[in-house]
């Protein structure tokens, strides 16, 4: 009787072990082969140069290259302005939408910039930004707002911001959705209690509503910062790093050195030197995750 039991348990155990093992195996393989190995490879490339296998040459080059340093700074500017636009406009949109009839349908429609593919969405702005036949310039000139042509993508002082706007534009509907979902999770009783306590809608919003979803919002915001730090597409599609290298960010810098410059080592070094930034942001994310 006893041995029967143990053999059943043992059978179950081995059954458990092998199933669980195979269930997780593909994931582990993917993780190790497709993520860890490339990571190590990248470090290897970063810590060597075209000529020497073990050297800090690439890293030194990168850290002394003003273009790299500016790319780094521009990346930081990019992610900050990007989330600010997404959050502010998304918030205004979410709040306004909730007051309006038929908001579910409108929500779906407003998601269009996000639902449509990324590259065409960027090309839309390429067309709008065009100095000669872009609509923005046309409207600005005919309504008398400006007298000169605004060269959104060709003027080094504003090109980066034009890019950021296009990118933020495309992702704002996502943020509107994130905010709507967050607001949706707040029980009606909080608003009623605030009403009874005599708080104006503004006061209710800033002192009661927002704090209730603080953790949720900050988590999403940090996520946005991290994910956008690797931004490449918008730069490459709209300006290719120009004009006069004024729109290069980390991603495009690395890409350029990899494909045009033919130097994988410098590219790898550029990326690796930005890891501290990533780690800091991720640490913040985990810290917020631990709240409550």
């Amino acid at each position: 009787m006893g041995s029967e039991k143990t053999s059943v348990v043992k059978g179950k155990l081995s059954n458990l072990l092998s199933y669980d093992f195979f269930a997780v195996l593909p994931t582990t393989l993917v993780f190790v082969v497709l993520l860890i190995v490339p990571l190590i490879t990248e470090f290897a490339y970063a810590f060597s140069t075209l000529t020497e296998p073990f050297s800090l040459g690439s890293i030194i080059f990168v850290l002394n290259d003003p273009l790299y340093l500016w790319s780094f700074i521009r990346t930081v500017i990019y992610i900050i302005i990007d989330i600010s636009i997404k959050f502010l406009v998304g918030l205004i949109a979410a709040v306004a939408l909730r007051q309006v009839k038929g908001y579910k349908i409108l929500w779906g429609i407003f998601l269009l910039p996000y639902a449509m593919p990324l590259v065409p969405a960027l090309y839309v702005w390429y067309c709008l930004y065009h100095p000669a036949w872009g609509l923005i310039n046309y409207v600005a000139r005919t309504t008398g707002l400006t007298s000169t042509i605004i060269n959104f993508l060709g003027d080094p002082s504003i090109a980066l911001y034009s890019l950021i706007w296009a990118h933020a534009w495309r992702f704002t509907p996502l943020w509107m959705t994130i905010l709507l979902a967050g607001l949706h999770g707040i029980p009606e009783e909080y608003y009623e209690s605030a009403k009874i306590d005599g708080a104006t809608p503004t006061r209710t919003f800033f002192r009661i509503t927002l704090p209730l979803i603080k953790r949720y919002l900050l988590l999403n915001a940090t996520l946005s910062l991290i994910w956008t730090s690797g931004e490449f597409v918008s730069i490459w599609v709209l300006t290719k790093g120009g004009p006069a290298n004024s729109t290069h960010v980390l991603g495009s810098y690395a890409y350029w050195y990899m494909m045009a410059g033919g130097n994988f080592h410098v590219a790898a070094a550029a990326l690796v030197c930005a890891f501290p930034l990533l780690l800091v942001l991720m640490a913040i994310f985990f810290r917020i995750l631990g709240w409550r």
Partner: protein, 279 residues
């Protein structure tokens, strides 16, 4: 006439919605309308509201057959990655969620770390690895990239979702003599339907839009995915007819729009669930 603050808020809301509508919808509308315009009319402000429309941009000589091939490539790569991601993520997410021993929190942290890490920062290492494996300029290479960079997030979604499904269901089946594999098929997959849909949506959309890896990995024009191919048309120089580009974009946009709008219900519910958990 007395205007109560609630009414003022309502008016403000409607005005805001209209303004946002213009900024966020008009450009798309304009762009896609251009697909149906004659080339000369596209940038002509007078023809903003067109008096004549055409379908010429959708056919030869404007619309090249290779466009369809590019879209097909995007489809192969996106669908391939999606299927593989779902197949490996559901069992893994499920098992990880059920793991009682060791620190499961550490596991979830590793998952989170993996999906937080932006794919751009591994471009050099990953593509060199593919080079060594001889997988450059192939569908498989791109699919592997998309699997690698989307699986952690989907696994995490499944993992979180599993906590809502009581273990007792599985234990009951186990006691009844079902194998764990049966349980996976008959219980886990059906019950995880909403999160699987979210995972499909996520992976498909990410893959359909991806540019960097496709750009680096794929070199032959026949293999390129649509966004890359589109870029080779060099829009921006006056060489490319924009009408063609917009026609191409329209066709390229249809699959994700369909997928997105069909499945958005799940996506939003998924977001809400996450919101309620976090709020």
């Amino acid at each position: 006439m007395e205007i109560r603050p609630e009414d003022l808020a309502k008016i403000l809301a409607y005005v805001t919605v209209i303004i946002i509508g213009i900024i966020y919808l008009f450009p798309i509308f304009w762009a896609f309308l251009s697909a149906f315009k004659y080339e000369a009319d596209i940038f002509n402000p007078a023809a903003l509201i067109p008096t004549r429309l055409t379908l010429q941009n959708f056919f030869e000589p404007y619309f090249k057959p290779i466009f369809l091939q590019w879209i097909g490539n995007s489809f192969i790569v996106s669908a391939g990655a999606t299927i593989i991601v779902i197949l490996i993520s559901v069992p893994a997410g499920h098992v990880l969620a059920r793991a009682r021993s060791k620190s499961y929190r550490l596991l979830s942290h590793i998952l989170i770390f993996a999906y937080l890490f932006p794919s751009t920062f591994l471009i050099v290492g990953f593509t060199r690895l593919l080079g060594t494996l001889g997988l450059l300029n192939s569908y498989l290479g791109v699919i592997l990239a998309y699997v690698a960079f989307n699986a952690p997030y989907v696994i995490y979604l499944v993992y979180s979702y599993m906590f809502a499904i009581p273990v007792e269901l599985e234990e009951a089946l186990l006691v009844d003599g079902y194998t764990k594999f049966d349980i996976l098929k008959k219980l886990v997959f059906p019950l995880s339907f909403p999160v699987i849909v979210t995972g499909v949506l996520w992976t498909f959309m990410q893959s359909w839009n991806e540019v960097l890896y496709a750009l680096v990995i794929l070199n032959s024009p026949e293999l390129m995915t649509a966004p890359i191919g589109m870029a080779t048309l060099q829009p921006g120089e006056s060489i490319t007819p924009w009408g063609t580009l917009w026609a191409f974009s329209l066709v390229y946009s249809i699959p994700p729009l369909i997928v997105f709008y069909l499945l958005q219900q799940y996506y939003i519910t998924g977001l809400m669930r996450g919101a309620i958990k976090a709020a």
